[in-house]
Symmetry: C2
Subunit: 320 residues, 2 copies
Amino acid sequence: VSRLGPGAEFDLIRRLLDGASGHHPGVRVGPGDDAAIVIGENIAISTDMVVEDVHFRRSWLAPNEIGYHATAAALSDLAAMAARPIGVLASVAIGPGDETDFASDLMAGVIEAADAEAAILIGGDVTRSPGPLVLDIVVVGDARAPVLRSGAAAGDDVWVTGSLGAAAAAVTAWLQGREPPAAARAAFARPRPRTREALWLVERQLPTAMIDVSDGIAGDAAHLGAASGVRIVLQAAAVPVARESELALAVAGGQDYELCFTAAPGAVQRVAGEFSSRFGVPLTLVGSVEAGAGKAAGAVVVDATGEPMDLVAFQHWGRA
Amino acid sequence: VSRLGPGAEFDLIRRLLDGASGHHPGVRVGPGDDAAIVIGENIAISTDMVVEDVHFRRSWLAPNEIGYHATAAALSDLAAMAARPIGVLASVAIGPGDETDFASDLMAGVIEAADAEAAILIGGDVTRSPGPLVLDIVVVGDARAPVLRSGAAAGDDVWVTGSLGAAAAAVTAWLQGREPPAAARAAFARPRPRTREALWLVERQLPTAMIDVSDGIAGDAAHLGAASGVRIVLQAAAVPVARESELALAVAGGQDYELCFTAAPGAVQRVAGEFSSRFGVPLTLVGSVEAGAGKAAGAVVVDATGEPMDLVAFQHWGRA
């Protein structure tokens, strides 16, 4: 049970949370009780907090886009586990000047992003904030055949879906006082979690390890490498850079919400064309997995001559 | 995957989240991957957000108490469903001036409160906040035999565990510039979710509807009444008021985290003594359920003559 302050906006959001419609076979108890109840064998749960002026600025996004962005980003973690989304819980701390419309528009964006991945709103909390707007989005899914970060083996290929760097290009433009290109703006405001793509790949038992690209592929591949006790070598020249972006942003920019996964050598090549035509999303071989336990575990981006590139030079990019 | 800003404190919290030790038979994948995975038939999930200067002030609580308070409050929602706790996810937005010690002490409080209810830390997120400290605590439990808010029937008795108003007495003292009595302070800083008590009652199939008392028993009973389509009549003289408190705070103060439940008339009386001696917590008959659908559904507090009392007069109490 939440402890609310007074005010019409809270009543409204509370009604939105409690009265959210929508049915899902995995939901036994939806919003409006002390907890939601979901049904499933392996239930995957992840939580992702976004804070105004840390992850976004209000001037960049419409209220419904703030809700959409945060929810899609959180759902991307379920895709990275190959979990089928069931429900979303949204905790929202609303700033002092926020109008009722702002809050309900924000929740509409949360519900829309959930709906796009066949999930429904099953709960949440709402409170005041004396400062920034804060959203914490909890996502719940059915992970019948979860893909962990720890399964990569030396010799595996490394793949990435889609193209990278568009969202970071939008952030960079905003930070420089420019309006971003429409495609870059959309990549940031309304990311597409790769839910169906992940399930398709897992049905074919292809990924040995998987992560979503939220902090830039270099950093996220390093998490994969560390969890698997291997060294992931990414070829800079192979990284699929979004048209609106550039290599530095594609490698270290973040907020792409594509999937980076490893697979047995040669296994994915035969289905890459089918994947691309089915989902309208390229599948790109970006590197390989080498042995490398302990301190060597992680990831490195190499240039055409095989020399490791200086990632520190990329680090200032694309951080909101 | 969270998108972190730079800084040693984030690395530390991230390590705390990723490396949290602890085993639980209900946890298949713990912290450190894109999502946690829990195992169970009916998985209950609830989320509870606390914001500095809305729900607490830093001057009131030590950092580990801030974490403990928030986590115990969230776990109380699982008790209200009669769910057995499994895991906790903690999303934390840390203020600009916070030291590394502050953050790790806070997480230690989260872990301690989880441990007290036999749950383990299974995930979370950490980010900067340009303003207040914000915690969103997600609790996950196994609700084999959930008790909903909607099962109360006319004729049922209404019961409450423990005594009410102590936490609100602490808040009132702080707001008036006084140091609260030790017992009141402890009630606020380290609430005890009634997990075992709820499971014991449900084993005996006693509660027909249940809620935790987080907003004051008048308000929470009203939620029960509304969900069940009945009118709950609470006897003011029967409300168990904590020694450090008074009736107004016990009725409308909030943050008690006791359980309010309905049961068939006469059913609980025969076990109330056993309950009290087993848990060291009184079980008090505070009212009854009357028919009352539609606008009449809700709750009312009546005085010794049966006259409804004016709850608005209580409303300014105990709100942090």
